[in-house]
Each structure stands twice: as C-alpha cells, then as structure tokens.
C-alpha cells in the first residue's frame, strides 16, 4: 500500500477491483465501512463475480476475468477526452511532459523492439530524449507529439467505451457510470482509494494491471493524498514482511537488486544500480544504493567484510538465471534439482498445475518440510484416492517433516499491507517437538558450518564467515534479529559536512537509513527497516494510538517503513508552493522553513518549494511515471488476452496472433502444450479465496471447517440451466491440465457476459480445499491452473483460464 489501512477511511470513493477486500481482508475492510459511514464515501466494486465486497457496495459492475487493462485503459481515455484530470498535478508531478525517443511506437499490438525468439523487448526506443547534460528533455506545454502526455492520449484513444464493453463484457452504461464517479475525484479536494489484491497480480499482465490504475490515480492527482493511493492488500498478516526481507531469491533484503553473472565486480554491480538523476535538483534517492548494500554485507559477514575484500562481494551468489517459484519448479521438473527445503509453503496446493508440481517433487532426492501443519505437499507421494492418485512405490523422494511453531507461539514482528511493522509477543508454547523457524534454521546452519569446518568443501568461506552474533547461537532471539535488521554503527558515524560532529556513536543502533555508510562503518540487515529498533528501543512495539490529526496516522503506533512514514509520496499532497491540495486533510505542508504536517515528510525536510525537488524521490526523474521505460512488457499498459482466452484473437489487434496474449509473458517451452483452447474448454474460470478460510491452513481447524466444510464451484444460473446442473449437485470441472470434482453453487451473482458478440460464462473456483485436514477431503483447485506467469513478477495466471464443466 502506498497509504495504509486506517487511511482508507479518508477516501471519498473506494474502488475495489482485482480484489475482494471484504472476503480476503475482512478486518481491514472496516475502514471502508468507516469511510462510508463517516465521510459518505461511495464504494464501487468491479469483479467477475458479485462478491461479498459487492454486497455492501454502492455500485457493482461485472467484468470478464483478465480484461482489467481494457477497462482501465478506457477510464484513462474517458479522463483525457473529457478533460477530467488534475492538471497541475499531472504537469508537475508526473513525467507527462517528458519527451520520448522518436523510435518508440506500438505496431499491431507490439511495442518497438520486440524479439519474438526471446519473447522479450529491447527497450532502446522506450527511453527519454536527453540533453547534453544527461537530463531528460521535457515539453512543459504538453503539446509535442513525442511527449508522454500526447503519446498516452494517442495510445488510449483506441479504448472507446464501445470497445471496452465489447472486450470486458461490462455493460457500457455501467462502465461510463464508474468513469464518471472516478472523474469526480480529479478535484484537488476529492480522493479515490484503490484496493486491489491478487485479482490483478495473478495474470500474465499482472504488473501492468496495477500500473494502469496507478496512471489513473496520477491523472486524478490522488497519489500521496490522504484517502488516495494505490493499495495492494497483501494476503497474509506478514506477506509484506516476507517480500521486504526477500524470502525469495530474486532480490536481496530491502528490494536491492541481486547480482547476476554479468556483474563481475562490486564496482560494476554498484555502478549499474546507482542511477544518476534524470532531472536537475532531484533527490534521486537510489543513489544511496552503495550505502544500503555495503551495510547489508556488514550484517551478513561482520568483521570478515572489509574494504580490501570488497566487503565480500564475491561470496554473494550471482544469479545465472531466474529463480522465482515457477522457475524453481521448472528446474525441478527437468530433474536439475536434488533437494528442496520447503518452509511455510504448500506448493502442491498453491502453485499452478498441480500435476507438474507433483511430478517435479517426485524427481527430488529429498524434500524438507518446515511447517506447523501436515501439508498436502508433505504427502504429495501418498495415494489419497481420487484426490491425489499417485503410486507411492514409484516415488523415490525422501520427505522430512520438521514441525514448526505457529506465529502465536513465538515473538516477532508482522508487517502489514500498510508497511506498518508491529511487534507481537509469544502467546503459547508450541505443541510437541515443534520449534521456532529461526531455531530450526540455526540448527541447520550450525550443523552445516561444523561439517564445512571438519570436512572442508568447494566453497566454505561464505558459510564459515557468516556473522552469527547471537547470545545463544542455536536459538537466535527475535529481538536480536530485529536489532540486526534495523542496523547499528560499527564506528562513529559523523556528519559529512562536519566530520567533527558525531551523529551516531560506535555500537549504537542507527536512528534511520540516512545514517548508513558505504565505508563499512555501519551494518544493517535491511535498509528500509532502518531505525525500527533505534537507541529508543523497539519502535515496532509501540502501542500509542493517539491521532492528533484525526486522519488515523498514529505515528507512535508500531513503525512504518520507510522512516516511520505512513503515506508514501506525501509531498504530492501539497501543490508546488507547498500548500495542501485539501487543507482539511493535510498530510504535508511547507511551514516556511521545513516540511511538516501529519506524517514524516517523503522529502528532504528542508527542501524549499523553490528548489523544485519533486515528490517521487525514489525515481531518478523525481516525478511519477505515466510512461515507464523499465517494464518488461511495454511502457504503456496494453490489453492482451489471458493465455487461455475464450476469444479467437485480441479484439484490439485482431490481425496479429502474436499480440493475442502478452508477448513478453513468462512461459516455458515445455508448458506450451498444456494450454487449452475455447473449442474444448469454453468457459472462463477464476480462482479465489473465501472469507471462512485462510489459504490451505484453516482446513485443519475445526471452526473454519464447520463454517465452510466442502469444496464447491460457483456457476451462473444460465450455464447451470444449459448443463442441467442444480445447486448441490456434484460437478466435474476440467482444464487441459486435469480435473476436479466439487459441489455446484448456482448463483445469480455470476452473470453471463456478452463479449465480442458471444456469450461468455464464468466459473468461480475457491482454492482452500485439499486432501489433508478437517474439511471434507477434496481435489486441489490448482490442478486446473496454467503454468504461465506475468512478464515482470512471474506470478502465475491463477485468475483467468479455460475449463469445461459437466455433472459428475
């Protein structure tokens, strides 16, 4: 979330799209209700299904799964052609005025620079035109045909309400009504908040779905505002923390881009990741990358990391390819992996194409499960009748189950969707022999270290020299870990302008990432958490709910990264002169000498408005990108069909088969055959959560099992009639990758849509069920889903694929 949960209450319009907050985030949803009650906010829901969120909405419109860009592109067209944008904001705080390379174009659905062989783009023509100082050139009048504003206008002029309705199936009048409601928030004192979740990310165009809405929010001037922003609702209490801490192999903690084989030396690596400002006077905050990275190396290797050895840069693994979850299982499936440590993850149930995942696991020599529950994955080898029909005698994988504690059985921190880090205390002991995850990892590490010390090995240095400064090495305390993550000074940290002035004494916790240095004098496990445990103590444990502004900022409750800032880009809540766009909801204002208000400024505190330091400090441009030269699949979001689409072509580019689906999406050659066509699988399926369950955990809990006991699929009344299916019947749903059986829920809430001249039926499939647990034994929904991922995030397309259905 650019904003935070409580801030939703400040919105005038709440849009839920690509998510179902009431269903998946019922507790946070209270703030939507609060906005409705106290601010008379309106709630709009756009979803293939009439959801629980829709049940309390003011307006609902249906949409075909996987066509969000068509819908939102249409909104952009509406805003631009009806001149419903926040002009000052767009001109000053976005790259609307930037001039783009003259070679940039979109031709027949493909952007310039496409390489069909590699399924990727050469982005050379997507760059800004630069002057001789290396700064991007701009046209303040926004009139140049090569400026972002004009390019954007041209790009989305094709997204007419008629075409939008034809592609999305959303009735035109519903679409226009929603456009009108959004357009009202172009007024400086009106805001719209956008709540989305995996309904946008889990598509082959997932990142671009979100970008399209981000562009709308920029056009309306809603970023940085109280009650505005673009808000990803994360699916676990701590999934934000997981991504922040890099519990996946693509990046280092704090979203630091991990080195690859191409980054031979530390200098080369740092040079590539330390950008130069693209406009004069901009903060260009990523220029501090070397400080963050060096401090991280000091946290990793302690005193072993020295200036002389390049702070152990050589010991950090260099990627030789992709290591996202899909890529890992592709390697495993190819038999290229020996073992897999599966910690708090149930890939058999939660990854796409269960059969492929099961086959891949069967090729391992060993599988280690670290989990509080007996997961489906831990029994992937065991025959569970029709639900997991495998032959155990043919699966050689050895499985180890290490029982772990649940979160309530250990202290630690949660980072919620709003980036608020909150400490939690242990509530109970874990049962039996279960241990905390860090204790289990410590045990593995110490054993490995001992073996390396005794037996040597190919590359013992990284293990033998890893810093392990914990009081009880076998049991690192959560408090020690947070202190290490937050960072401390190893030597006195002095003021760069006045070396006699000591800012942080050696041995003290740093007050924030601004104190980090690239000379080895500071250590920090994750720069964005810098200062969360300062000399003042554990700030994440603060529980002061006082809220002087009434905006719900509660700056003394927990700690929000970065720097305890609650609303990102909050400088954009004020005009160029530093006056709040809406004085009633002041987030930030220029006091004459400094930035102040009701948040931690997302700005150099003394940057006077005359200096023209722009609010988007993490971008070298200083402004937000309506046009993004760094996306893998295009600088402007373009509608592409899901990989499995009920249509024969992309109605935006009917003549080009290459542009039917995202031309840069992640797809493995071996999976090409696993896709089905509308001829055999005529119905659009989408998967989702139910409020009664949490992923694949709560099917093990009695109360949740009582509340939602058995796997079901939802179909509309028209399809039910066509197929002779009644509510409560057992049905079989097939995709090209397998089938499941479940109970049919026949509902008015799923409408048959008119799409491109044909009727499209949608089938909704909740995901929580499986063959382990207290709910009725069932099939795994992800038996059906395709193994194809987003071009930028590699997230699989769980939300739009093709199936057929019949009475079982």
């Amino acid at each position: 979330m650019t904003n935070h949960w409580v801030d939703i209450k400040n919105a005038d319009l709440v849009v839920i799209m690509g998510g179902n907050a009431a269903e998946a985030h019922p507790c946070g949803f209270k703030w939507v209700v609060e906005a409705k009650k106290e601010r008379k906010a309106r709630l709009v829901v756009v979803d293939p299904r009439f959801t629980r969120s829709a049940a309390v909405s003011d307006f609902y419109a249906p949409i075909r799964a996987g066509t969000d860009i068509a819908f939102l592109g249409g909104v952009i067209n509406y805003l631009l052609s009806n001149d419903k944008i926040h002009h000052d904001y767009v001109r000053n705080y976005t790259n609307a005025a930037f001039l783009i390379d003259e070679g940039f174009k979109l031709e027949d659905g493909l952007f310039s620079g496409y390489n069909a062989e590699k399924r990727s783009y050469d982005k050379a023509t997507w760059q800004y035109q630069k002057d001789k100082e290396g700064y991007a050139m701009v046209d303040e009048t926004l009139q140049s045909p090569n400026c972002v504003f004009q390019l954007m206008k041209k790009h989305y002029s094709r997204y007419t309400p008629e075409l939008v309705s034809r592609v999305t199936g959303t009735p035109k009048e519903d679409f226009l009504k929603i456009c009108g409601m959004m357009a009202e928030t172009a007024a400086p004192n009106k805001t719209m908040t956008v709540l989305y979740a995996l309904g946008w990310t889990e598509h082959t165009v997932g990142s671009q779905n979100i970008r399209t809405m981000a562009m709308i929010q920029l056009l309306l001037g809603n970023m940085g505002m109280a009650g505005g922003g673009i808000n990803a609702l994360r699916g676990h209490a701590n999934v934000q923390g997981i991504t922040d801490m890099c519990l996946y192999s693509e990046v280092l903690p704090g979203y630091l881009s991990a080195p690859t084989d191409a980054d031979k030396t530390r200098d080369e690596y740092l040079a590539k990741r330390t950008p130069k400002a693209l406009r004069p006077n901009q903060m260009n905050f990523p220029q501090n990358f070397p400080k963050w990275f060096t401090s991280l190396m000091k946290a990793f290797y302690g005193s072993a990391a020295t200036k002389e050895n390049g702070f152990c840069y050589d010991w950090v693994p260099k990627k030789d390819g992709a290591y996202d979850a899909m890529a890992i299982f592709e390697r495993m499936h190819q038999g290229k992996m020996t073992g897999f440590v599966c910690q708090g993850f149930n890939p058999l149930a939660s990854l796409a194409n269960k059969r492929k995942v099961g086959d891949a696991l069967a090729k391992l020599k060993y599988l280690v499960i670290i989990d509080p529950l007996a997961t489906d994955t831990s029994e992937f080898w065991k025959n569970h009748g029709e639900f997991n029909d495998v032959d155990a005698s043919k699966i050689p994988t050895e499985v180890f189950r290490l029982p772990a504690n649940l979160f309530a059985e250990d202290a630690g921190s949660f980072t919620n969707s709003g980036r608020v880090v909150q400490w939690h205390w242990k509530a109970a002991d874990g049962p039996g022999e279960s241990k905390g995850d860090s204790e289990i990892m410590a045990a593995l590490f110490l054993r490995l270290k001992e073996m390396y010390a005794k037996d040597g090995g190919k590359f013992p240095d990284a293990i033998l020299n890893l810093a392990w400064p914990y009081r009880i090495p076998a049991k690192p305390a959560p408090e020690e870990l947070l202190m290490e993550i937050s960072g401390k000074a190893l030597a006195d940290v002095t003021d760069p302008k006045d070396p006699t002035k000591v800012l942080v004494k050696a041995g003290d916790q740093v007050p924030g990432f601004a104190m980090l240095r690239d000379d080895g004098s500071t250590s920090c496990g994750n720069w964005i958490y810098g200062g969360s445990w300062s000399q003042a103590g554990n700030l994440t444990a603060r529980r002061d709910a006082s809220d002087p502004s009434g905006l719900g900022q509660t700056l003394n409750w927990g700690f929000a990264w970065p720097a305890n800032r609650r609303i990102l880009y909050n400088r954009a809540s004020a005009d160029l002169a530093g006056k709040p766009w809406d004085p009633k909801r002041t987030v930030m204002k220029w006091t004459g000498t400094a930035w102040g208000g009701n948040d931690i400024p997302d700005m150099r505190p003394n940057a006077a408005p005359e200096e023209h330091v722009m609010p988007f400090i993490m971008a070298p441009e200083g402004v937000a990108r309506l046009f993004s030269p760094i996306m893998a699949d295009g600088p402007f979001p373009e509608h592409y069909e899901p990989f499995e689409s009920p249509l024969d072509n992309n109605p935006f580019h009917p003549g080009n088969a290459k542009a039917k689906s995202n031309p840069a999406a992640r797809v493995f050659k071996s999976d090409m055959d696993s896709f089905g066509t509308a001829k055999d699988f005529p119905f659009v399926a989408t998967t989702y959560r139910l409020v009664e369950h949490f992923h694949f955990w709560t099917k093990h809990a009695h109360i949740n099992a009582v509340l939602q006991p058995e796997h079901f699929v939802e179909i509309g009344e028209e399809l039910a009639k066509e197929k002779g299916i009644k509510a409560g019947d057992k049905v079989k749903v097939r995709s090209n990758r397998g089938h499941i059986k479940a109970v049919a829920v026949v509902t008015k809430r799923i409408r048959t849509l008119d799409v491109d001249g044909k009727k499209v039926h949608t089938i909704g499939i909740p995901l929580h069920f499986g063959f382990k647990g207290l709910t009725k034994p069932g099939y795994i929904t992800n038996t059906l889903t395709p193994f194809v991922g987003d071009a930028n995030s590699q997230t699989p397309e769980y939300k739009a694929f093709l199936v057929n259905i019949e009475k079982a």
């Binding site: 209270k30 008379k40 009695h702 009582v706 809430r749």
Partner: protein
C-alpha cells in the same frame, strides 16, 4: 439468584414475582445488515466463547454453513440473492435469538426457571432446569431454539449473558470486523440506527428502517434493513412476528380456564354426591329379583 447476578423480570412457569429490586439498563444488539459482509466471524466467535463445536457439515449448494441453527450453532448467516430492476442485491442476515420483550419461548415453557428474562432484556435458557419438552420451539415466532440430540435440552443464543452481566459486549459484537454488530443500551442503539438509516436513505434506500417488531413487544436484537418494508426479503424474516395465537390460547387463558374446568368437574361430582346421595339399588328391586331367582 441467578448465575449472572442480573435481575429477573420474568421466569418461566412461575406465577409469583421474580426477584427484581435492582434496576439495570435495557440493552440491545443492533445488526446493521447494510454493513454486514457475511464473514461469519460472529459464528466463529460464538463457537469460541461458548465452547460449542458443531459437526463439519457439507456444502448444499449455498454459502450458508451450518445450513441452519442447531443446538451447537446459536447463530448463522443467511444469504439471499434478490434481483430488482436489473440490479442484484446479496442480502446477508445474521440469524439467531431476537431476545423479544415478550418472549414466546418463555411463555410456552412449562419448566419453572428454565427460561428467564433479565431486567436488561436478555432472554436466557437455564438448561439445568430445562426438561427438553420443546415447547419453547413452538412458542418462538422466529424459529430459533433447538433441542440438542445429545442431552435433549433446548439451546439458543444467550446474548452472551455472562459477558453482558459484567459489562462486556457479546462475543459476536466484539468479533465483528466491520462494526455491523453494535451493542449498547437499547436507546443508544436506536439512536445509532437512526443515523445509519439516514445514510441509507441518502444512498437511495428510501424504505430503510429499524426492525424492532412491536408484535413481540420489541426485541433486544434489532436490525437495520435497507428494505424495512419487506423484511421477508432477508431470508424470510417475519414482517409482523408475534406469538402464535395458538400458543397464546394454549398458554394464555386456556391454562387457568381448563384447570378450573377440571376442578369444577371434580368438585361438582363431590357435591352431587353430597346433595343427591348415592344411586343405590332399591330394596324393592332386591326383593323383586330375589323372588325371580327363587322361581
């Protein structure tokens, strides 16, 4: 004195006044249907606080689960899909005991003290006095009490009388994530409802209103409905609930009247005997018969 240390307003099958010296505030739970997302957190909280665990059921083709109230499910969400003028509404109502001011269950109950109504309005079952006859089921206008298959006793929502007695909100209200379940004094709840109704009116629900049916003397569980003119839309919430006339007849004037009638017959017989004497075989007849048999 009852476990809950509350004052008792009415006690089932008891003809003398219950202890009622203390004055407590009349309370109510307000269910704002317009803010309810049907998440069933209230159901889970009810199970947890009261330590009741129903069986794991099956899916019958709807979202409702458990599909009905049971002795171990004291509240359930009922989902209704209503389409009007081309716009769909998913009306979700939390069902359970309404805690009527004039409780039909209590009226019908033959077991002294099995059902009590506290001065704060809570209608509570005291299962140790319950004989399991099920008369409460017949008395309830909302079809709420359920007889347990395990122990034959009647069960229903207690409005968490134990929590309420010590100033806590019922577990469901405490757990509700959206504030759709509010708890407080009945008059505060009515004020709150008025604000919600004004908001709904402004959003185009001209007939929004409070459900506090007069037929049962008002209730201590009230609903804010978008369509207060048609409560039946909400999965058959009765438009004008009242204690069935049959039950009123049976447990009303029939009770003393019939008892009197039985007494009258008994006493009438006695006095007939006293007044008229026995009907004996006359001496003449005895002689006559004696003669006949001798012949």
């Amino acid at each position: 004195m009852a476990l809950q240390s509350l004052d008792i307003k009415q006690r089932s099958a008891t003809t003398t006044p219950a202890p009622s010296v203390r004055q407590t505030t009349e309370v109510a739970k307000l269910i704002d249907v317009s803010a309810c997302i049907g998440c069933k957190a209230c159901q889970a909280a009810c199970m947890e606080w009261n330590d009741i665990r129903d069986e794991v059921g099956i899916n019958t083709g709807v979202y409702d689960n458990p599909v009905d109230l049971t002795a171990k499910s004291w509240t359930v969400m009922r989902f209704a899909e209503v389409e009007e003028g081309g716009r769909l509404q998913w009306l979700i109502r939390k069902d359970g005991c309404m805690h009527c001011a004039d409780p039909g269950c209590l009226k019908a109950c033959p077991a002294p003290g099995a059902i009590v109504q506290y001065a704060n309005g809570v209608v509570d079952f005291h299962q140790e006095n319950c004989i399991g006859c099920g008369y409460c089921v017949t008395g309830c206008p909302f079809n709420v009490p359920r007889i347990s298959k395990d122990d034959g006793k009647a069960y229903k929502c207690s409005l968490c009388s134990d929590r309420v007695a010590v100033g806590q909100a019922p577990a469901c209200a405490k757990a509700c994530p959206t504030g759709a379940i509010q708890y407080g004094s009945k008059s505060d709840m009515k004020d709150y409802a008025a604000k919600r109704i004004a908001d709904l009116n402004e959003r185009g629900f001209a007939k929004a209103g409070l459900y506090d049916p007069a037929g049962v003397g008002g209730t201590h569980v009230m609903y804010v409905l978008h369509h207060a003119d048609r409560p039946q839309l909400y999965n058959g919430l009765p438009a004008d609930p009242g204690i069935s006339p049959l039950v009123s007849l049976w447990k009303g004037f029939a009770k003393p009247l019939a008892s009197l009638a039985i007494g009258a017959v008994a006493l009438g017989s006695l006095f007939h005997y006293v007044m008229k004497g026995p009907n004996e075989v006359s001496k003449d007849m005895e002689k006559e018969v004696e003669k006949e048999t001798e012949q």
